[in-house]
Symmetry: C2
Subunit: 188 residues, 2 copies
DNA sequence: TGTACATCAGTGAACGCGCGTTCACTGATGTAC
DNA sequence: TGTACATCAGTGAACGCGCGTTCACTGATGTAC
């Protein structure tokens, strides 16, 4: 029996390719992620990679879709707890930097992809639902946006290395501190 | 006298190139911005563009530097007013989407560029100063980060087209609503 | 248990293209005298 | 006012390269009978 490295059929090339693409995006940004480099990392012809995703944009689209799915799954575990929802959001971004980067970069994606649209709107609905359960009534939307923007900004700045040293190292802790501050004002 | 279009010397090619680069980034993301396309837009040889920036990365670095300088100038007009500082931040991002995109994308920049480092730290200092003047004492850093993350997140989500329709259209108004919410909690 | 066949996964070669960079050179500008 | 010269801005051609996409084909897998 041939070793896993030299089998004709890879087994799950699609998943492996997404992993390689994520690693490339994470380390060098989207421009460092090419069809051919992904294939090289998996010792596979680049036509094989294209075979699974249609074209290059298809890789990013699949990555973004997977990102929204993972995020939704993560958030689902913290329904109803606004603070933990925010912390989970940041943890997702830090743990999946490539997915996160690609999810909010429309210029890289197939705008009309059905799976992407589905995954995205499921996630968005969850974020809004989280806020609704907290506030209720007037100002709900603004609180939801505030919370989302806050954690999104924290995650983005952290990933960009823009947070000041000493503070940027534990984004989850910052999120707790900062969200508590916001929550304190709301609860009075 | 030759027309402006056919002069040998452009006049201010450096500035013009930055403008063209910004337009390209704004409409198609950083990957749509190439040395050759910038040159094409200005009817100039691409070697001329390289002459001014050294290499491609030099263009993005110059754009980011200009961005930090513009942002600092904008923020300087609202020293001491936390809310207006935030609104100005968002207004800058929306008005200079390409600069904003490139400023926080380290993989595109010359990490060791002196002018960039100077402009960046001047801006950061201003943001921190704004928060310090508001809060004072314990929790200052966390409030500064919270405010920054909030407006950064709002701007980023708006530019990505991720804010829900109806809310995403006037990011400045959202900022006011949301910052007022945060400020209300703090002030009690 | 075998055999035929459809389907799917991956190959390998070829394509044309646009890219960033380099370089010797030319045209324009400004400054010193 | 002229002239010489240094400096700076921009040209144009050439380079090699890696890219995304396409296509006819082959190998592997699974399913029906």
């Amino acid at each position: 029996m041939p070793s896993a490295d030299q089998r004709y059929h890879h087994g799950d090339l699609r998943r492996a390719a997404l992993g390689a693409a994520a690693a490339l995006v994470a380390s060098g940004g989207p421009s460092a992620c090419t069809v051919r480099e992904v294939a090289r990392r998996l010792d596979v012809s680049h036509a094989a990679v294209t075979h699974h995703f249609g074209d290059k944009r298809g890789i990013f689209t699949a990555l973004a879709t997977e990102g929204f799915e993972r995020l939704a799954a993560t958030l689902a575990g913290h329904r109803g707890d606004f603070l933990e929802l925010g912390v989970a959001y940041v943890r997702f971004a830090v743990g999946n930097p490539a997915h996160f980067a690609v999810m909010f970069e429309p210029s890289l994606l197939h705008a009309d992809d059905a799976a992407l649209a589905t995954a995205r709107s499921a996630t968005t609905a969850m974020l809004h639902g989280g806020a609704r359960s907290l506030a209720g009534g007037a100002g709900t939307a603004s609180v939801a946006i505030a919370g989302w923007a806050l954690v999104h900004g924290l995650a983005t700045l952290h990933l960009a290395g823009a947070l000041p040293a000493g503070l940027g190292e534990d984004p989850e802790a910052i999120t707790r501190a900062v969200a508590a501050e916001l929550g304190r004002g709301r609860r009075r």
